[in-house]
């Protein structure tokens, strides 16, 4: 058993040295930060993934640019999802957009941070039609309002339901 007792120590080092397993490619957006300096708050790179924190006001302009610029060409909206950052957190909500480009095979994540008393963000369903249902789901489960959305109704919960289940202050079990 002497051999085995040495092993955990060795393997810990190999884990640290190996680093994260990077499978996805993320887009090169170095040019973006100067062009949209006014609407980008922060660019975070971690685990091989790039997150752009965007101001709500500049979101649509930036997304249209990302879709149409030939060197980026994000023609596919993978996901729109909400995150509740905590019951007492400010800002309270994040809406994350995951973009993908079939032409260049790269991805990008954009995040808009929202205050609890002002949880609304312009809809992107005019840019990618697929956003329609995904935004309805975020509205349904988080209560984030999507301005100018063509059909903002509850989608998973019943139409007369009160409350937003994925918020952190929503109880997991009853009394």
């Amino acid at each position: 058993m002497a051999e085995a007792s040495n092993q955990p120590h060795e393997s810990l080092q190999s884990v640290v040295l190996r680093g994260p397993n990077q499978t996805s490619r993320y887009a090169d957006i170095t040019a973006l930060s100067s062009r949209f300096a006014g609407s980008i708050n922060e660019i975070i790179e971690s685990l091989g993934e790039i997150t752009v924190i965007v101001k709500r006001e500049g979101l649509l302009e930036l997304l249209i640019y990302l879709r149409d610029e030939p060197s980026l060409y994000f023609n596919f909206l993978s996901d729109v999802s909400g995150v509740d950052l905590g019951e007492f957190a400010t800002p309270r909500f994040a809406v994350a957009y995951h973009l993908y480009s079939l032409k260049h095979n790269h991805r990008l994540r954009l995040k808009v941070l929202l205050e609890e008393n002002d949880a609304q963000v312009p809809t992107v369903s005019g840019i990618w039609k697929s956003a329609n249902w995904m935004e309805r789901e975020v509205y349904d489960l988080f209560g984030v309002d999507f301005i100018n959305h063509p059909d903002l109704r509850r989608i998973l919960m019943p139409a007369d339901y009160e409350g937003f289940p994925l918020r952190k202050d929503f109880p997991v079990r009853g009394y």
């Binding site: 884990v15 971690s46 996901d79 999802s81 909400g82 079939l102 289940p165």
Partner: protein, 411 residues
């Protein structure tokens, strides 16, 4: 509270269904489902008809919503695997794989070679099982009863193999973060080899029974057409997108679990109709079988559990000698492990399309947020676009051709 809009009631409510428009318009609105076998679960579609022609189709979902994303936030990292496989219950191995890979990326862990190959083997086997259910039910919707039984004979063999490795037939929870539940038993590989040997005969018979059938072809060719641009706009992924001529398979573009080392083709059809989507899935079964054969040929011996100290329980003998090892085991078993703060989006190619896990970790032993980007959800969203202008009977075929699973949509 947030200033949210008042909840709008749908324009066509259940009360007005079936009533003719008083202004003399011959349009009629009917409710298809939710309890209808051809809706593949609990899907309701509000169909507006002009005679027999579909003018508008509005899917109504949520009947199977059980708040799985919320439940995941209350479970420990390792326990979430039991929930992921219950979402898309026809492709549970694939759903587990996506979650496990996402958490492994957060942890910076890579599975051992044997585990990676076993994962690919079982995921492809599950893809076959999923496509078999699709084939049987889709063809039955269109009017052929007997193919369903042939498909389920084959699927039964796959489920028996899953039972052999994990003890469960549908919700296996066999993939764990950092490894597998256990190594495969000795009886598994002979079963798998027998299955692989006889499966081409089934595909040949399926070709004779359905693919070459003129009635089936005339029911599917030119029906439910969606162009490549529309398909991308509406977020279609997987075989449904490849039926419109778009070459995108995440196993090729962003390979995971060593898919880049396998030799397989991605079937593409250009027409964008039911027939094209049918052919893509039929040819995918051949490719999946080829991948399974390759995994059998290269399966190495070796450990299945990654050496990461957080993920591997200590050796029994060491625990008896060292108090710190004992404490480590106790904490791992009772409290679980923590995952570093961070967020990750991990897409994989499930049997239905791009299945993405967006996981946010706050550094505790439970996930802060697990968002599942379900392929069926977006595939169903494109249904109105595909079905408008076709007959009501064609709508049934179109629903079958996008291969939705309502457990995946509602979660």
């Amino acid at each position: 509270m947030v200033s949210t809009k008042e909840i709008e009631v749908p324009t066509t409510s259940v009360k007005t269904l079936g009533k003719r428009d008083p202004l003399g318009d011959q349009r009629m609105t009917i409710s298809l489902g939710p309890q209808h076998p051809s809706t593949h679960g609990v899907l309701r579609v509000e169909v507006e008809l002009d005679g027999e022609v579909v003018v508008a189709a509005r899917p109504d979902i949520g009947y199977l919503h059980t708040g799985m994303e919320k439940t995941m936030e209350t479970q420990k990292w390792q326990q979430v695997v039991t929930i992921t496989c219950r979402m898309d219950y026809l492709n549970s191995m694939g759903n587990d794989l996506g979650y496990v890979l996402a958490v492994e990326k957060l942890l910076g862990v890579e599975a051992t070679p044997r585990t990676q190959i076993l994962r690919v083997m079982l995921t492809e086997l599950n893809r076959l099982a999923s496509h078999l259910v699709w084939w049987g039910t889709h063809v039955m919707d269109i009017g052929a009863m007997s193919p369903f039984f042939y498909a389920f004979v084959q699927r039964e063999k796959i489920l028996d193999m899953f039972e052999c490795v994990s003890g469960a037939r549908l919700h296996q929870s066999y993939f764990r973060i950092g490894g597998l539940m256990a190594d495969i038993p000795d009886t598994f590989l002979p079963l798998l080899k027998d299955f692989v040997a006889q499966f081409p005969d089934f595909l040949k018979m399926a070709g004779k029974l359905v693919t070459g059938n003129k009635i089936f072809q005339s029911r599917t060719k030119g029906i439910g057409v969606i162009s490549a641009e529309d398909a991308l706009q509406w977020g279609l992924t997987g075989p449904s997108l490849r039926g419109s001529g778009v070459a995108w398979d995440i196993r090729k573009t962003e390979p995971y679990s060593g898919y880049e080392t396998y030799d397989f083709e991605v079937p593409i059809e250009k027409d964008g109709d039911i027939w094209a989507r049918y052919l893509v899935r039929m040819r995918e079964m051949v490719e999946s079988l080829s991948i399974i054969q390759q995994t059998i040929d290269r399966l190495p011996e070796g450990p299945i559990q990654s050496d990461h100290p957080k993920l591997k329980l200590p050796e029994r003998d060491l625990m008896k000698e060292h108090i710190d090892v004992m404490i480590h085991h106790f904490l791992l078993a009772s409290e679980g492990f923590t995952v570093p703060i961070g967020e990750v989006y991990f897409p994989i190619e499930s049997a239905r399309g791009e299945l993405g896990y967006y996981i946010v970790s706050d550094g505790t032993e439970r996930p802060w947020r697990v968002r599942v980007k379900a392929p069926s959800f977006l595939n169903l969203q494109a249904l109105p676009k595909m079905s408008e202008g076709y007959l009501l009977a064609d709508l049934i075929g179109i629903i079958g051709s996008i291969d939705i699973v309502l457990g995946d949509i509602d979660r």
